[in-house]
Structures are given as structure tokens and as C-alpha cells.
């Protein structure tokens, strides 16, 4: 069973059925717009939601996550010894995410799950999560996913890819996890694989055609880090930046975090919180020295990491899936596409 159709009448009841085994996440709308959140009982995901302000990364990597605890009670034998909190293994499904958010999880995976290091919290969440994407038939003006090896119907990182066919969804089941979720919902109307694939291809081509972007990344790998680092345009790029954390927090691929200990009475808790390289605290040493002491340093770091260091280290393209959230949300309209092109086009005169 590669393809199935899901009548929209069966969609919400199917999701409800799956709640016995899955915690369900999806786009929900409130006064601050649409966000990917755990769906309250009886709530259906808002499948026609615009791009959510925040990506789906928090499902695996919450903005604040408790990782270790200790007792400070000295009468206890293990006082002050940090012990891991239980990881959350409850199967969960994220519904209706855009395909680039699933690709982004694969990029974040390079950091949290690699031969040298496996982050227990992220890995447990990843294992437990099924990603059900919805192809984007009308990409918006900030979407440049096709320029960075992704796209509105990209399958990478997804377990199921769905397409909206008015009164029903056509779903392509991509993994075993996807099969399990479909079974839990009771969706079992098989669709003709050949015809379905043709339909997907048509929709994909139609959607890709709508993305107009002249982003070029082809020359980034051939440049030296120092040439780009010393390029003359960073002051100009950074002038308008107010050094808020918006771009990094809305980014589905930004993975940096900070560790904080908090105590209350006799309990100590170690948290990790999202961190942002836009903040001067990010690199503020205990000595007082700050190697990235100005906003120009910090703006340069963000783009160098995404567009050069990552590329050089992993050889998997740039650290960006083209969702355009940073472009849409930046209060001063710093556009990563423009910065990327400036870096790509830069020829040193030395």
C-alpha cells in the first residue's frame, strides 16, 4: 500500500482514533496566528493554515526542556548528583507540516544524532515522532525551498506526504512509521500507485513553477572561509539588524541551545533553552571578554554558519530549507536570499 485516499469526512474521526496510540500535533490558530502545537481533544488540525510563524522543530527540541535534576537535601545519599529525567517515548504524530520542515529535521539530526554524539532527549523524541506533511500547492513570496534542494512536495524526512484534492487527501506512504500511523487512523482506501504518482508529479511541478527566486549557492563551497569572513559587505548587511532572536527562533534548522540551572527549595533542575547567536550573551566569556562583541560579528556569524561553515563541515548543502520564515518575520527585513547571493557572488580583489 503506497498510496491511499482519505475522504475529508473521515479525516477528523481518523485522527481521533489514532489518539489511543499517538499524541497529535498540528497547526492550530489563536490570536497570535498559526502554530504547531499539541492538539487538544476534539480539535482538528487547521490544514489550510498559512505558514506557521514557528517551525515544527520544537516538537523534538522544545524551547525549554528539563534534562537533569538533583536534590540539594544533604541528608540524601545522592544529593547534588544530577540524574537524567525520563525521556519522552510516547509516539506522536505531527500533522500538516510543510515538507521543508521535515527536511529541516534531517539537517538538525546531523547535530543531535551523529557517530560522535547522540543527544538522548532529541533522539528519543525523533524515534517516537511520525511526520505527516501536506504538499504546498501555493507557495508564498518568501518560499525559496526549490533553490536549496527541497521543495513544496519534497519527501525527505517525511513519513507520509499528502496532497489536498478538494474533498479528499491523496497520501503517499513513505516509511514504516507512516504505515503505522495510517493503520492507527484506520485509513485504508488504496489508490492506484501509477495514477497517484502522476498526480503528485503534476502538483509538484505546478507548485515549483510558482517559486521564483534567483538564489545561487553554487560558488560558496569554492570560497575560503577567511575571504568571506573578511568580505567588505558585513557592515552593510548588519546595519539595520536590531539583534533580536527572531530569525534564529523561527528557523527550523537553528539548533543552538544554552544550559541553565535553576533551584527551588531542595530541588535543582538543569534546563536547556534555545539560544541565539544574535545575542551578545551567546559568546560572552566568564572572563568578560566577548569574541563576538558587536552586532556585525554576530550577524556575520549567523550567515557564515548557515551558508559556509555548515556546508564545509557536512557537505550537505547550506543549513537552510528555504521556508522563508526569517525573511517574513525579520523586523528589519534582512533577507537571507540577498545575503547568500552577495556571498556567492563575492570575488576577493586580493
Amino acid at each position: 500500500m503506497n498510496f491511499i485516499t482519505i475522504d475529508k469526512k473521515d479525516w477528523a474521526p481518523g485522527i481521533d482514533k489514532s489518539r489511543k496510540t499517538f499524541r497529535v500535533y498540528g497547526p492550530v490558530e489563536d490570536e497570535n496566528g498559526c502554530q504547531i502545537k499539541p492538539l487538544a481533544p476534539d480539535t482538528a488540525p487547521k490544514m489550510d493554515a498559512p505558514v506557521t510563524v514557528m517551525s515544527a522543530k520544537s516538537v523534538l527540541f522544545p524551547q525549554t526542556e528539563k534534562i537533569l535534576t538533583a536534590t540539594l537535601d544533604e541528608s540524601k545519599q545522592d544529593h547534588h548528583v544530577m540524574t537524567p529525567v525520563e525521556t519522552d517515548d510516547m509516539p506522536r504524530v505531527v500533522l500538516g507540516i510543510r515538507p521543508y520542515d521535515a527536511k529541516a529535521v534531517q539537517l538538525v539530526k546531523l547535530n543531535f544524532d551523529n557517530p560522535d554524539y547522540q543527544d538522548p532527549y532529541w533522539c528519543a523524541a525523533y524515534e517516537a515522532t511520525t511526520f505527516v506533511g501536506l504538499g504546498v500547492t501555493h507557495p508564498g513570496p518568501c518560499d525559496f525551498s526549490t533553490a536549496v534542494g527541497c521543495g513544496p512536495f519534497s519527501e525527505e524526512g517525511l513519513d507520509v506526504l499528502m496532497a489536498d484534492m478538494d474533498d479528499k487527501y491523496l497520501a503517499k506512504i513513505l516509511t514504516k512509521k507512516g504505515e503505522n500511523w495510517v493503520a492507527a487512523c484506520g485509513f485504508d482506501t488504496e489508490a492506484d500507485p501509477k495514477e497517484s504518482q502522476v498526480l503528485f508529479d503534476v502538483l509538484r511541478k505546478e507548485a515549483e513553477k510558482q517559486i521564483q527566486t534567483d538564489l545561487a549557492t553554487d560558488k560558496l563551497a569554492g570560497k575560503t572561509i577567511l575571504d568571506l569572513y573578511d568580505a567588505p559587505f558585513w557592515d552593510d548587511v548588519a546595519f539595520s539588524c536590531i539583534n533580536c532572536g527572531t530569525c534564529t527562533y523561527v528557523c527550523p534548522t537553528c539548533w543552538c541551545f544554552d544550559i541553565q540551572d535553576e533551584t527551588r527549595h531542595n530541588t535543582a533542575v538543569r534546563f536547556r533553552n534555545w539560544d541565539t547567536c544574535m545575542s551578545s550573551l551567546f559568546t560572552h566569556h566568564a572572563s568578560g571578554h566577548n569574541p563576538r562583541g558587536t552586532k556585525v560579528h554576530r550577524v556575520r556569524q549567523r550567515f557564515m554558519h548557515k551558508l559556509k561553515y555548515f556546508l564545509d563541515k557536512y557537505d550537505q548543502g547550506i543549513m537552510c530549507v528555504g521556508c522563508g520564515r526569517c525573511v517574513a518575520s525579520c523586523p528589519v527585513n534582512i533577507d537571507i536570499r540577498e545575503v547568500c547571493n552577495r556571498m556567492n557572488d563575492y570575488e576577493t580583489t586580493k
Binding site: M54, G245, T246
Partner: protein, 320 residues
């Protein structure tokens, strides 16, 4: 405001060509619909990059303060709406810059539009935005909407009574008529009228989606502290996670730090990626400053703000 831009460009070019100023800070067109970006020009050849329209919602006074200006720098011209100019005055009064360092190109402002209100008219993303006089034409893939600018103004612009810069070196247009309001703080009064539980719930709900990106703080010209209290680590005043007590502590303290200083320019709300109306905090303090001290920030250069002045005639006993 359509005609202002030609004057702004001409003034900017003249100032740069004559060397009166070292740079001109203004707005340039953005890369997506309804976006502009702050820009600094150093050559009179570049002035065509300047724009001024109804989506210049940030406050350019934020780009001139002790932190951003070096003492060696020459004079800087700033394109200033009424609120930007009031924040430049506040900078001067608070000794962040001197009057001589700044050349204020005043713009009589007819208000900025609420981008979220406009986005709410569409189910899909906006692909085009055009402005002709007081008419806005907005397009998406599915439809075109024509709206009156007055119907989609930001709330702070709807209740603005200082559209014209109170202090300037040159004006880029004829002053606009200032409105007078019978109930300038209706929004604050509505919140104040709630009972305690409802009011607390209101504020909890207000900040529930805050991601602590600090865009509100960083877009605010008042927030020029070298180290903000939330960034202190020794001692650490407030937790850095998403605990709601910590989130609200940030918002409360930031608002109190703006008491008697806020010009209600709306840059905080404009910058917030979640569209949180953080003005609900500062507006109450603005109302108090007006009612208790007859004070509105940034109108005059020769008067101390109420919270940094001592008066023997102070009506309160505790201070004597």
C-alpha cells in the same frame, strides 16, 4: 505622504553633498510586500534608495544612541515621523546624544498600517502592496483588495496626537492636522475595568505565545541599557526559559523601565513576530504619566521627565 519622499530625498542629497551631515538614516524598500528596512546613506548619489510610505513602522531613533554612535562621528540626519522625533528628543534629554549631533528631517505623518490587520483580509499570502494617497491596493494569488488606509491604521497611529515632529531641523512637508481625542486611553480603561482575576487572565493570555526573542526590546529606542536586566548573570534576576513567571517578569519590568519615557511609537508591536500587543503594558504607564504629572514624553528639550526630577512642590508626602 506621497509627496514627502521627493523632499526627503532632496534634503538628504543636499545635506550629504554639502557635508552638513555624515550620513542620512531613513527607510529603504524591502524585499517582500509591506516591508521596509532602515538604511544609512553616506552619498548624495544614493538618495533614490530612500522611501517613505505607510509601512515605515519602526522607529529610527533606535539607530542613534550612545551604543550606536561613536563620539568621533559627525552629524547624522534622521528621517523622523512624529514619534521618531519624540524619541530623538528623549535621547537628548536622557543624555544619549547631543542636539548638535542630530539633524532631524521631520515628516508630517499620516500613520502606519497594521500589517496583521491587512494580512487577516486574506486566506493566502500577500504578494503585492501598493499605496496611492489614502488608498491601498493589496494582492494575493487569489484576490485583490482595495482598502482605505484609515481603516487599517495601527492602533497607536489611530490614537496619535503628535503626528508632526515637535522638534526638527527641517520639515519635509506641511504639518498635518493633529487630532484631539475625547477618550485617548479607552483601551487601558477597558483593561482597568476588569476584575482582578480577569485582568490577570488577560495578561497571561497576552504573553502566552511570547518566544522571548526580545524583538520588542531591541526595536525600542528606550532600551539602550548596555546590559538589560534579563541578560545579567551575576546576579541573575530572572530565569531564561519559557516559564510563564519569567516571561511576564520580563514584560512587566521592561514596561516599568519605559514609564514616563514611552512615546507609543508602536515599534515593539511592529517588531514582534507573534503580534503580541505589548503596548497594553506601556500604555497604562503613559496614561499615568499624563494624569499624574501632565507629562508626555519627547515633546520638549528643556524639561526633565517626571521620574528623574525632584521638586520641592511634589504633591506626594513620601518623597519629602
Amino acid at each position: 505622504m506621497d509627496t514627502c519622499i521627493e523632499k526627503i530625498r532632496a534634503i538628504g542629497a543636499d545635506l550629504l553633498a554639502k557635508g552638513t551631515v555624515e550620513k542620512v538614516i531613513g527607510f529603504a524598500d524591502g524585499s517582500i510586500p509591506m516591508a521596509t528596512r532602515p538604511i544609512a546613506l553616506t552619498s548624495d548619489k544614493e538618495v533614490d534608495k530612500l522611501v517613505f510610505n505607510s509601512v515605515c513602522g519602526l522607529n529610527l531613533a533606535n539607530y542613534v544612541s550612545k551604543n550606536s554612535l561613536s563620539s568621533k562621528e559627525g552629524k547624522i540626519a534622521v528621517v523622523a515621523k512624529g514619534c521618531d522625533a519624540r524619541n530623538l528628543v528623549t535621547h537628548i534629554v536622557e543624555n544619549q546624544i547631543s542636539r548638535e549631533q542630530i539633524y532631524i528631517i521631520g515628516v508630517p505623518c499620516t500613520g502606519m498600517v497594521d500589517k496583521r490587520k491587512i494580512a487577516a483580509l486574506f486566506d493566502d499570502e500577500i504578494t503585492g502592496f501598493e499605496e496611492h494617497g489614502d488608498t491601498l491596493t493589496i494582492t494575493s494569488a487569489s484576490k485583490t483588495e482595495t482598502v482605505k488606509k484609515a481603516d487599517v491604521l495601527r492602533h497607536n497611529c489611530r490614537v496619535c496626537t503628535h503626528s508632526n515632529p515637535p522638534v526638527y531641523d527641517v520639515m519635509a512637508g506641511d504639518p498635518v492636522e493633529e487630532q484631539t481625542l475625547d477618550h485617548p486611553y479607552e483601551d487601558v480603561d477597558q483593561i482597568a475595568a476588569m476584575d482582578l482575576d480577569a485582568r490577570w487572565a488577560y495578561f497571561e493570555n497576552l504573553t502566552k505565545n511570547c518566544i522571548r526573542c526580545y524583538a520588542c526590546r531591541n526595536a525600542c529606542p528606550l532600551c539602550y541599557c548596555p546590559t538589560c536586566f534579563v541578560d545579567e548573570s551575576s546576579p541573575q534576576w530572572v530565569g531564561k526559559g519559557q516559564n510563564e513567571i519569567d516571561v511576564t517578569t520580563f514584560h512587566f519590568l521592561r514596561a516599568f523601565h519605559c514609564a514616563g519615557r514611552c512615546t507609543d511609537c508602536g515599534a515593539c508591536v511592529e517588531a514582534c513576530p507573534m503580534g503580541i500587543n505589548v503596548r497594553d503594558f506601556t500604555r497604562k504607564l503613559n496614561k499615568d504619566a499624563l494624569e499624574l504629572f501632565g507629562w508626555e514624553a519627547g515633546l520638549v528639550l528643556d524639561k526633565r521627565p517626571p521620574l528623574d526630577a525632584y521638586s520641592p512642590n511634589d504633591p506626594n508626602d513620601f518623597i519629602k
